[in-house]
């Protein structure tokens, strides 16, 4: 049986199971079939850069190489962020209760791309658990969106997750990632006024090398 996800709302623990919202189960799905001129089904394969080696599906793998191009084990490598600081791996969210404390506004929620959505159902049938879930539901009915970091199996980075009520009144978990949205003014965002001084512009105008 799958391990439940446990939320902590105040002092109450609420254990829930996740049911993935799958597009194919809502609307159906499409499969693409490739056939040759005789109507026989074809398989997808990869043609290597030598133009003759055919590789079947699953016939390639990913390896890591060091700065000199020599193979190395991934376990020997160190993950760092863009600033060069070592990343501390995050634990799976199923390992410890998730405290429901931080909230997000509608605009903050809309700043994220949502990759996965789950409906939540209560794990267990005792009265205390049902009461706690009622309390969570009434909090969400007031329009609250709880925000927290979420990782299914642990890893280097956690996803952004939100707990909200769907229009049909179901408690939903939305998992996604933040996007880089920014207000823009009359000047295009890629054009920074600090970068171009008036002197530079004048010099550029007089620079015949550029012609």
């Amino acid at each position: 049986m799958a391990k439940p996800l446990v939320f902590l709302l105040g002092e109450d623990e609420i254990a829930v199971t996740l049911n993935k919202i799958d597009r194919s189960r809502l609307y159906g799905f499409k499969e693409v079939e490739a056939v040759d001129e005789h109507g026989e089904i074809c398989q997808l394969a990869t043609l290597a850069d030598d133009g003759r080696t055919l590789i079947p599906r699953g016939g390639t793998g990913l390896v890591w190489t060091d700065a000199e191009g020599a193979w190395c084990e991934k376990s020997e490598l160190k993950p760092v962020n863009v600033d060069g600081n070592e990343l501390v791996p995050v634990q799976s969210s199923f390992n410890a209760p998730i405290k429901l404390f931080d909230t997000a506004t509608v605009d903050e929620y809309l700043n994220h791309n949502i990759r996965l959505a789950y409906s939540l159902s209560l794990e267990g049938t005792d009265d205390n658990a049902a009461n706690s879930l009622m309390q969570l539901r009434s909090e969400l009915q007031r329009g609250t969106i709880f925000a927290f970091a979420y990782s299914y199996r642990g890893g280097l980075e956690a996803d952004a997750a939100f707990l909200l009520l769907s229009e049909e009144g179901e408690i939903m978990l939305a998992v996604g990632s933040p996007t880089q949205v920014a207000f823009v003014g009359i000047q295009a965002p890629t054009h920074s006024s600090e970068e171009d001084s008036p002197e530079d512009s004048e010099e550029e105008l007089m620079d015949f090398d550029m012609i």
Binding site: K30, V63, W64, T65, D66, C72, V181
Partner: protein, 245 residues
């Protein structure tokens, strides 16, 4: 940056820019000396060394088992481990020959796995930057309701390309902000067709959102192809139906 042909509530249209807002992954891997490591794709096995072919060459599975005990007939010594750079996707027939005249069929299935339709695949053209602008549909969904009704899986930021389109988009953003709503943005004469961002890409419903901050604006086009709801019992395939599909 891409283009989008958009009309405002007055029916005035302009071609403006769309920018990606996807956050880049910010994890790098360093080797023991603190130098940047990189990933590479390598060959694990090639077609002549697939299990089906090995069985047919050996004759029987038990003969192949003996060959595997005695040696390494499954390893392509010339190619296994070779780093791949530029590759091509090809289709092969049952004899592992490259097929040059491939025809694609779409098999449309219901939620229960039953086949609804089988048809030749047609790649729909993009419809967001065509000569016909995406019209101001006037169908507004309050933000509070929209986030509880739809799953917004991606988005693009719409930006001006000159001073005139700055005014055009700022006005649009302010209008949407005052309504505190997202506006359904569809293609076609009735604005009811889904948006196709690239030829053959997944169709999405588009929702336009606007915010302003002083003389700055934020105009986002949210994309959704799924509602935030669980399937009703009739939409759920049973395990038997799923297995038979």
């Amino acid at each position: 940056m891409g283009d989008i042909n958009l009309a405002n509530s007055s029916g005035r249209d302009a071609v403006v820019a769309t920018a990606s807002v996807v956050s880049e992954r910010n994890v790098r891997w360093l080797d023991k000396q603190g130098r940047q490591a990189s990933s590479a794709r390598v060959i694990k096995s090639t077609m002549p060394y697939e299990i089906d072919r090995l069985i047919s060459v050996a004759g029987t599975v038990s003969k192949l088992s003996q060959l595997l005990v005695d040696g390494d007939p499954e390893i392509d010594l010339e190619n296994t481990g070779r780093i791949l750079r530029e590759t091509a996707r090809v289709y092969v027939d049952k004899d592992r020959g490259i097929v040059r005249n491939v025809q694609f069929w779409e098999i449309v299935k219901n939620a229960d796995g039953s086949v609804r339709e089988r048809r030749p695949r047609k790649l729909a053209d993009t419809n967001i930057s065509s000569d016909t602008p995406l019209r101001w549909s006037g169908i507004f969904v309050p933000k509070e309701k929209a986030i509880r009704k739809f799953v917004f899986s991606s988005k693009a930021q719409i930006q001006h390309v000159n001073g005139l389109t700055y005014d055009f988009l700022f006005g649009m953003a302010r209008d949407l902000e005052q309504r505190n709503s997202l506006m359904l943005l569809g293609a076609g004469p009735k604005s009811n067709q889904p948006l196709i961002l690239r030829r053959g890409a997944v169709p999405y419903r588009g929702f336009l959102e606007g915010r302003t901050d002083g003389d700055k604006y934020l105009l986002l086009l949210h994309f959704s192809n799924m509602e935030l709801k669980t399937p009703t019992p009739s939409e759920r395939p049973t395990s038997e139906e799923g297995a038979s599909a």
